[in-house]
C-alpha cells in the first residue's frame, strides 16, 4: 500500500492505495466522485479526463501513486453551489450533450483549453477536444457550446 495526499476539488484527502490503483479508480471508487467516467480505460476516449495541476489528463492512465501531492479538478468541482460554470451552462444552453457519458470529460478538456487559450478558433477548439470521443452529437453542438462559453467568459 502507498500513502498519498491528494487535493480533489479543493478538498484534501489522505489515502492508502495499492500501487496498481489508477487515479480514476480512486476518484470513482474511493472518493465516490462518479461524475468522471470510464469509457475505454486505455486513454483513447477521454471520458475520464480530469485536470491535474491544471492540465487535462486521462485519469485512467495515471497511477494514484503518481498523483501524490497533486491538485485534481473533476467535473463535480466546476459549479459553485447551484451556479453552473459558464462552460457547463453553455453545454446546457446549446445542446452540447446527449447521452451525457462523454460530457464530464469533454467539459474538462474544454476547461483546460479555455484556461490556456480564452479565444480559440474553431480549429483550436477541435484540436482541444481531439482526445474526447462523442458518439451522439457529431460534435457540432459541442463546438458551438465551447465557442459560446469562450464568449461568455470574456474571450472575444
Amino acid at each position: 500500500m502507498k500513502e498519498i495526499n491528494l487535493t480533489v476539488n479543493n478538498q484534501p484527502y489522505r489515502l492508502s492505495v495499492p500501487p496498481r490503483r489508477t487515479l480514476l479508480e480512486v476518484i470513482r471508487e474511493d472518493l465516490g466522485l462518479t461524475g468522471t467516467k470510464e469509457g475505454c480505460g486505455l486513454g483513447e476516449c477521454g471520458a475520464c479526463t480530469v485536470l491535474m495541476d491544471g492540465q487535462a489528463i486521462n485519469s485512467c492512465l495515471v497511477l494514484a501513486a503518481e498523483a501524490d501531492g497533486k491538485q485534481i479538478t473533476t467535473v463535480e468541482g466546476l459549479a459553485s453551489g447551484d451556479k453552473l460554470h459558464p462552460i457547463q451552462q453553455a453545454f446546457v444552453d446549446h445542446g452540447g450533450l446527449q447521452c451525457g457519458f462523454c460530457t464530464p470529460g469533454m467539459i474538462m478538456s474544454a476547461k483546460a483549453l479555455l484556461d490556456k487559450n480564452p479565444t480559440p478558433t474553431e480549429e483550436e477548439i477541435k484540436q482541444g477536444i481531439t482526445g474526447n470521443l462523442c458518439r451522439c452529437t457529431g460534435y457540432t453542438k459541442i463546438i458551438e457550446s465551447i465557442k459560446a462559453a469562450a464568449e461568455n467568459m470574456g474571450g472575444k
Binding site: 467516467k37 457547463q88 451525457g100
Partner: protein, 766 residues
C-alpha cells in the same frame, strides 16, 4: 395547427443539469454495500466444443465467492422469436464465436475476479470454423448450428410485381455487388449491471439497457420468476444506437445468477475492448443489386439478393433482414421489386441491430446504383432523383408502395429542391475542383426511414400523468431516453397538452416495478408512440381539470383554455386563475380527488408480416436529401469531408435542439461508416477492438453541417412529428460515396472507403 406554446421551442434538455455536473448516474456508478464483482472468462477459439471446465483452482483463490458455467442455467435458451431461441447465457457445449463467454466468477473485488477468471481451465476441441457468409452457405461448410441447413439462419423471398418482365422492358439494366462494413454502435459507456437477487425472490437490477423491458422479460424467463418480481431500475444510459443495449448479455445473466447463489449484490462492467470484440454489431451485408430503368431514367425494377453475416446466433436477425427489404420501395416510385434475403451463421460475433437498422445496406446499394445508371444515361443526378421521387400525398390521400407501405406525407421532393438550392450544391462548380493533390467533389443522396417501428408481441407505449396539488405533474412512462432526448420531448408534449410550463413537468427514469410496460427505444418509436401515449394521458388529466373549472365558473369545459399555467374562460378573460389554483380546487374537491391520466399508443397495431414483407414496418416515414463535399488526396487516398447539407422531412420538430442533435449525430455516425469504421477480422478474431483502431470520427474529422427543415406535419405523429434519428445515418454514406465519385470518377461499392482502397482503385483505373 393551433398555436403552440412549448412544442417547437429551443429548450435545453430536461436532464442537462445532471449531465453537465456529473450527477447523472449510469449503471457503473451504482454500488451497494457488500457487493461482489463479476468477471467473465471467454473463449479463445471461434468454434470449439467445450469438453470440460475445471473451476477448482479458481474456487480456491481467496476472495472468490461463486463461479457459474453454462450448465448452471438449466438449459434455458433465448432468442427474438420462439423458433430462434438458439442462445444460452453462457456457452454450454460449444462456442460459436471468438470470445463467447463460458464462465463467470464473483469475488470480493474486481482484481480478484479477474485473477480467478484466469484460473478457470477449459478444455476445448477446436472445430473448423467458417467466417465468410457466402462460404458458409455452401454444402459441406462447417455447421455453426445443427438446427438449420447450410447455416441459413433467416431467409425471405418476396416478389412484388414482375421483375423479369420489367427488366426485359428496361432500357438499361445494371448488376453490381455492394458490401457494407462491420460497424458497431460505439457508445462510450460500456455495458454494466448491478444485480441483486434478494432472498424473497425478487430480482432488482440497475443495468445499461436502452430497452429495459426486453431485459425484464429475459430475466423473468431465465430465472423463472414472475414479471412482477423483476425490477429493472434504469440508470442514465451512455448511448444505445441499437444492438447490444437492447439485449441481455452474458455478464447480466451471470451477475444475477451469482447474486442468487451468494445472496449478495453483484456488479459487472464490461471492458470496452471486450465490448468491441463481442458486441452485437451491425450485420456486414453483401447486396447483389440489379436495377432496371427506362431511357428517361424512371425506375422499372429492383432485385436484391442480400447475404448477411449473422455471426454465431440469430438474435434479432429476423427483423434485421426484414428491414433490409421492406423500405427498398422508398423513397422512389418502384413498380417491381424482388427480394431474396439470407442471414447466414458464421463463427464471427453476432450481427444485430444498429441505428438505421437494415436500411443502411440496401439504400446505400440502390442509391449508388441509381446514380451509376444516371451517369450512363447522361441524366443529372438531381434530375434522376426528382423524376423518381415519391410525391407528397395531398392531405387526406395516401401513397401506397407495391409492398403496401403507406405514406401520408413525403417531403422528399421538397427536400431535394431545397438541398440543391443551398450554395454547397448550387455553387459547386464555382468552387475549386483541384488544388494540388486534392480533388474536390460534391455528392447527393436521398433516403427514408420508418418511425414508430413495429415488432412482434406487445408494441404499445404507455404513459401516466399524475397531477400534484401544487400544479406540477409527474410524467411516468416506460419509454427510455438513452441520450436521444426523448424525456425532454415527452415532457414538452405533456406541458403543451396541459397548458403548463415545461419546468412543471417532472420525469424520472424507468423502473419496471412502477412504470408501465414499454417495448423499448428502437426503430425511432419513442417520440411517436410514447408521445401519443403522453398526449392521451395529458388529455385525460386536462379533461378532469376542465370539468372542475367549468363547474367553478358555471361554464362549459370547452369554453376554457389553459396556456402556460394560466386558466381562463375564452369568452370572458376576466374569469381566470393560475393553474396551481385549479389544481388545488381539483385535488381538494369533495373528500379529495386523485387526478391521474393514462394513455397508451394505438398507432401501429397491425401485425408485422416478416415472411411476406407486406405492409408497414412503422407508422410514418422520414425523408432526407443529403449533399456532401469531400476532398480526396489523389496520391494518398485520404478523404476530408468539409460540408454536409441535410434537408430532412422529420414532420414537425417538437424539440428542435434535440432533433438537430439527432440528425447531426446520425450523419456523423454515417460518415464513420462511409470512411473509417470496420472491424478487421482474421478467422473470427477481431484485430481492432480498441478506439485507436476502430476508427470513429473525432472533432477534426467532422464537416460543417447545415440543416434544412422540411415540415410536412404528418397526421400520424403527435403534433405532426415523424422520426429524426435514423434518416441521416442512412443518407450519409451514399452522399459521401457520391461525392468521392465526383472527385475521383470512381464508384466505390464497399464500405468503408479507406485511403488504401482509394489508392488501389486509382491505380487500377490508370
Amino acid at each position: 395547427m393551433a398555436e403552440l406554446s412549448v412544442i417547437g421551442q429551443r429548450v435545453p434538455r430536461v436532464d442537462a443539469w445532471e449531465k453537465v455536473t456529473g450527477q447523472a448516474k449510469y449503471a457503473a456508478d451504482y454500488s451497494l454495500p457488500d457487493m461482489l464483482w463479476c468477471k467473465l472468462l471467454r473463449s479463445p477459439y471461434p468454434h470449439a466444443r467445450i469438453l470440460n471446465i475445471d473451476t477448482s483452482k479458481a474456487k480456491k483463490l481467496p476472495g472468490v465467492r461463486g463461479i457459474v458455467t453454462g450448465k448452471d442455467f438449466g438449459g434455458w435458451s433465448w432468442g427474438w422469436m420462439p423458433a430462434t431461441r438458439d442462445e444460452t447465457p453462457l456457452a454450454v457445449d460449444k462456442v460459436r464465436y471468438m470470445a463467447e463467454a463460458v464462465a463467470g466468477v464473483a469475488a470480493v473485488d474486481e482484481d480478484t475476479a479477474e485473477q480467478a477468471a484466469g484460473l478457470i481451465k477449459v478444455e476445448y476441441e477446436e472445430l473448423p470454423g467458417v467466417f465468410d457468409p457466402e462460404e458458409a452457405m455452401k454444402d459441406g461448410a462447417p455447421k455453426v448450428h445443427d438446427y438449420v441447413k447450410n447455416n441459413i439462419s433467416v431467409e425471405y423471398h418476396w416478389n412484388f410485381g414482375d421483375v423479369d418482365k420489367a427488366f426485359a422492358e428496361s432500357h438499361i439494366v445494371r448488376e453490381d455487388r455492394f458490401r457494407t462494413a462491420r460497424a458497431t454502435h460505439g457508445y462510450l459507456e460500456p455495458p454494466a449491471i448491478l444485480a441483486y437477487y434478494d432472498p424473497t425472490g425478487y430480482i432488482t437490477v440497475w443495468a445499461s439497457k436502452q430497452s429495459p423491458y426486453f431485459h425484464y422479460r429475459h430475466l423473468a424467463a431465465c430465472f423463472k420468476v414472475p414479471l412482477s418480481r423483476v425490477r429493472v431500475i434504469q440508470p442514465f444510459i451512455g448511448g444505445g444506437f441499437g444492438g447490444t443495449k437492447n439485449d441481455s448479455l452474458a455478464g447480466d445473466f451471470c451477475a444475477v445468477l451469482l447474486s442468487k447463489m451468494t445472496g449478495r449484490p453483484v456488479k459487472y462492467i464490461e471492458s470496452m475492448e471486450e465490448e468491441l470484440a463481442t458486441s452485437r454489431r451491425r450485420h456486414s451485408v453483401i447486396v447483389y443489386s440489379k436495377m432496371g430503368v427506362t431511357k428517361d431514367g424512371l425506375l422499372k425494377a429492383i432485385q436484391h439478393r442480400v447475404v448477411a453475416d449473422g455471426g454465431g446466433y440469430t438474435a434479432i436477425g429476423p427483423l434485421s433482414m426484414y428491414l433490409n427489404g421492406f423500405m427498398t420501395t422508398l423513397p422512389y416510385k418502384l413498380p417491381h421489386f424482388k427480394f431474396d434475403a439470407y442471414r447466414v451463421f458464421t463463427n464471427n460475433p453476432i450481427g444485430a441491430a444498429m441505428r438505421g437498422h437494415g436500411v443502411t445496406h440496401t439504400r446505400f446499394a440502390a442509391e449508388i446504383q441509381m446514380e451509376m445508371l444516371a451517369e450512363e444515361l447522361g441524366i443529372d443526378p438531381v434530375e434522376m432523383r426528382m423524376r423518381n421521387a415519391i410525391d407528397n400525398p395531398k392531405p387526406g390521400e395516401i401513397y401506397e408502395t407495391i409492398n403496401k407501405v403507406t405514406l401520408k406525407t413525403c417531403g422528399l421532393k421538397q427536400a431535394i429542391k431545397e438541398a440543391v438550392e443551398d450554395p454547397l450544391w448550387r455553387d459547386r462548380d464555382k468552387l475549386p475542383k483541384k488544388e494540388g493533390a486534392i480533388s474536390w467533389g460534391t455528392g447527393i443522396s436521398g433516403s427514408s426511414y420508418s418511425g414508430g417501428a413495429r415488432q412482434m408481441g406487445h408494441q404499445a407505449c404507455a404513459a401516466i400523468i399524475r397531477l400534484c396539488e401544487d400544479g406540477t405533474v409527474n410524467l411516468i412512462t416506460g419509454a427510455t431516453d438513452c441520450g436521444q432526448g426523448s424525456d425532454t420531448v415527452l415532457c414538452m408534449i405533456a406541458a403543451e397538452e396541459l397548458g403548463i410550463k415545461l419546468d412543471d413537468v417532472a420525469i424520472k427514469r424507468v423502473d419496471t416495478a412502477y412504470t408501465p410496460v414499454d417495448p423499448g427505444s428502437y426503430g425511432s418509436r419513442v417520440t411517436i408512440l410514447a408521445g401519443q401515449a403522453t398526449q392521451k394521458a395529458a388529455r385525460e388529466v386536462k379533461k378532469q381539470l376542465l370539468e372542475t373549472a367549468a363547474a367553478n365558473w358555471q361554464v362549459k369545459p370547452e369554453d376554457i383554455e389553459i396556456r402556460l399555467g394560466e386558466v381562463f374562460v375564452k369568452s370572458d378573460p376576466e374569469k381566470k386563475m393560475p393553474f396551481i389554483r385549479l389544481a388545488r380546487i381539483a385535488c381538494y374537491s369533495g373528500t379529495g380527488a386523485v387526478i391521474m391520466g393514462t394513455g397508451y399508443s394505438s398507432y401501429g397495431i397491425e401485425h408485422l408480416d416478416l415472411t411476406n414483407g407486406i405492409g408497414n414496418g412503422g407508422c410514418s416515414y422520414s425523408f432526407t436529401a443529403h449533399t456532401a463535399r469531400v476532398g480526396v488526396d489523389m496520391e494518398t487516398g485520404q478523404i476530408t469531408t468539409t460540408d454536409f447539407t441535410i434537408a430532412s422531412d422529420c414532420g414537425r420538430l417538437l424539440s428542435p435542439v434535440q432533433a438537430e442533435g439527432q440528425i447531426e449525430g446520425g450523419a456523423i455516425q454515417g460518415l464513420g461508416q462511409a470512411l473509417y469504421e470496420d472491424f478487421i477480422m482474421d478467422r473470427g478474431k477481431t484485430l481492432n477492438p480498441t478506439f485507436l483502431d476502430y476508427k470513429m470520427p473525432h472533432a477534426l474529422d467532422v464537416p460543417n453541417i447545415k440543416l434544412i427543415d422540411i415540415v410536412t406535419d404528418d397526421p400520424f405523429g403527435p403534433f405532426g412529428a415523424k422520426e429524426t434519428s435514423e434518416g441521416s445515418i442512412v443518407s450519409a454514406p451514399p452522399a459521401v460515396v457520391s461525392a468521392i465519385h465526383d472527385a475521383t470518377g470512381i464508384w466505390f461499392k464497399e464500405l468503408p472507403v479507406t485511403p488504401e482502397k482509394v489508392v488501389k482503385a486509382l491505380k487500377e483505373k490508370k
